[in-house]
Amino acid sequence: MADLRDQTLSFRLRREWPAYVYLLPTTLVLLFLNAYPVAYTIYISTTDFGTGGKGSLLSYHYIGLSNYVYALTTGLSTTTALIENSFFWAAGSVALFLLIGLGLATVLNQEIRGKTVYRTIILLPWAMPAFITILIWANMWGYSYGIINGVLNSVGIRSVDWLQHTDTAWAALFITNVWLSFPFYTVVFVATMQAIPRDLYEAASIDGASGFSQFFRITLPYLRPTIVFVGLMGFLFTFNNFYPIYLITSGGPGISTQIFITESYNQAFGSLGATPAFSTAALYSVIDFVIIITITVVVIWRTDLTRNWLK
């Protein structure tokens, strides 16, 4: 109904007003369950809620930007570690997703026997609820009773204390995360590749282009919008992907694999009995949100990602 665009506002309102009625429930839900809590979190980050040491948890005060100043001075090493870890976690994971997804999709996109069987098996990890499989993986990485060390032992390799060293803890996290996500990326890329017109490749073959240069000259440019889209979504999702870190390493050893979201949760609800540091939790939430928003705005501004949502 794009032809209505030229008509006057009052005409459009008279005809289109029911839309507001239909949007009312969702708007209310979003205002009360998203917008208000976000504003409330920002407010808590400017108080000494849980960190004031005033005795009672419920007496807290507005302290301006003191928490932010703290995060940039005394607490700077923690803040820096959280920023580095969050970016390393998200960017590293997405790089692996894209590389492995593209590689497998290229292989799967050929005429090859057993394609359907391969595809179905590769999709299985993605169909399992992530919370459940992450919990299982957390047990699999265990030192004494984990099956991964069990398998290593059976081929004569000594047990690795995966979660007690920073490098192996990251390795465990990335391997688990790849397992969780590579099916989705592979299938999305296969679907996009199948939409590339065959005759482009035929013409390239006739001109003598090798498979390698066909991939870089035809496949990759064609996939670019998809790569940007799933890459951004994957980054935003992984940046705040709570369960792998929370369930497998709990941010350890120390805080060497801790990201904003898990540190925030730990500060607020981490140890039973200890005073919950709600203001610190809120502070990390707000920093996290600002980073996410900035990245999204820049990417949407530099690309045409939203065209499908706004047309």
């Binding site: 109904m1 794009a2 506002l9 309102l13 289109e16 007003w17 839309a19 507001y20 239909y22 949007l23 969702t26 839900v29 979003l30 369950l33 998203n34 976000v38 979190t41 808590i44 497998l104 292989v107 090859i112 098996i121 590769i122 990890p125 399992m128 992530a130 919370f131 459940i132 499989t133 919990l135 299982i136 047990n139 699999m140 004494s144 009773y145 099956i147 069990g150 059976s154 590579f182 099916p183 996009t192 919008p225 998809t226 889209f229 799933v230 705040n240 709570f242 369960y243 925030s264 949760y265 607020a268 609800f269 709600f278 996290d288 996410i292 939203t306 499908n308 949502w309 706004l310 047309k311």
Partner: protein
């Protein structure tokens, strides 16, 4: 002649390499699943979890873990399942209604402020949901909604609303306006046309929206862990976490894996049955083909 034979060998080598890559990928994908399945039927004691658990003898297989999960857990499996269905089912129902209304308004109306609204909901949805647990907790504690059914159903309902709304919008975009206009010519109001003509055409995407709204709460641990203090309201996710993390540092793998399988089956079945559709939906129409 020789060149042609050479090319044939290259092609064969390529094909073998492709199969090797795919077999490795499949082995990686299957290993944890195989481990879960085989361990759930195993009678081996926990301390002897070595690679031998992966290649069991027939005599070492039993249904004991399943029996234990279903009949001798506290809180009982039935209670956990019932609570999960109450929480996730309510969230799915409310989420479905919200998504249907939102999708309809965004797809079939050209109201002033439409663009602003889409940007607003996208911005809102970027705020990481785990971060909302803190304000929810503080607010709901004031309202006395902690450890109540309502207190958890409310935040769960909002979980998938933006995503599902856009999902429904994209689907409705593909339904020609003529269908709605024909209904209007037949004398139906716009609301009647929506409920009687448009919605029935959207059953597939509405099913998907309801499913996605169900899966989130069904597998939520972070929010439920904070909100539910009494174990008679615990969900399957809390029950599974509890079985998997015993204080002794060694979990009973048989129980954990049997629990994981029983809890996963409905979700896996749905995903595998509707995989094409779900993948299309999850990429929000950004991937064509």
């Amino acid at each position: 002649m020789r060149a042609r034979r050479g090319r044939k060998w290259v092609r064969l080598g390529k094909r073998i390499a492709s199969h090797v890559v795919l077999i490795v990928a499949c082995a990686f994908a299957l290993f944890p699943i195989y481990f879960i399945v085989i361990t759930s039927f195993s009678t081996l004691p926990v301390a002897s979890i070595t690679a031998q658990v992966l290649i069991p003898k027939m005599s070492q297989l039993s249904l004991a873990s399943y029996h234990a999960i279903l009949y001798s857990q506290s809180p009982s499996f039935v209670s956990l399942l019932g609570n999960s269905v109450i929480f996730a089912g309510s969230a799915a129902l409310i989420g479905l209604l919200l998504a249907a209304f939102t999708g309809f308004a965004l797809s079939k109306f050209n109201f002033p402020g439409r663009r602003t609204f889409v940007y607003f909901i996208l911005l809102i949805s970027l705020f990481p949901s785990f971060v909302l647990i803190l304000p929810f907790y503080l607010e709901f504690a004031k309202l006395g909604l902690i450890d109540s059914y309502l207190g958890l159903i409310i935040p769960y309902s909002a979980g998938a609303v933006v995503f599902s709304g856009i999902l429904v919008k994209n689907y409705m975009d593909s339904i020609p306006d003529d269908i709605e206009e024909a209904a209007l010519v037949d004398g139906l109001s716009r609301t009647q046309a929506f409920f009687r003509v448009l919605l029935p055409l959207c059953y597939p995407v509405l099913g998907l929206a309801a499913f996605l709204a169900f899966v989130g709460p069904y597998t939520d641990y972070a929010l439920a862990h904070v909100f539910l203090t009494s174990s008679d309201k615990w969900t399957l996710a809390l029950g599974l976490y509890n079985v998997a993390n015993t204080d002794t540092g060694q979990s009973n793998y048989g129980l954990v894996t049997a629990f994981a399988i029983v809890m996963s089956i409905p979700i896996v079945a749905f995903y595998m049955a509707f995989q094409r559709y779900i993948i299309g939906g999850l990429t929000l129409g950004a991937v064509r083909g």
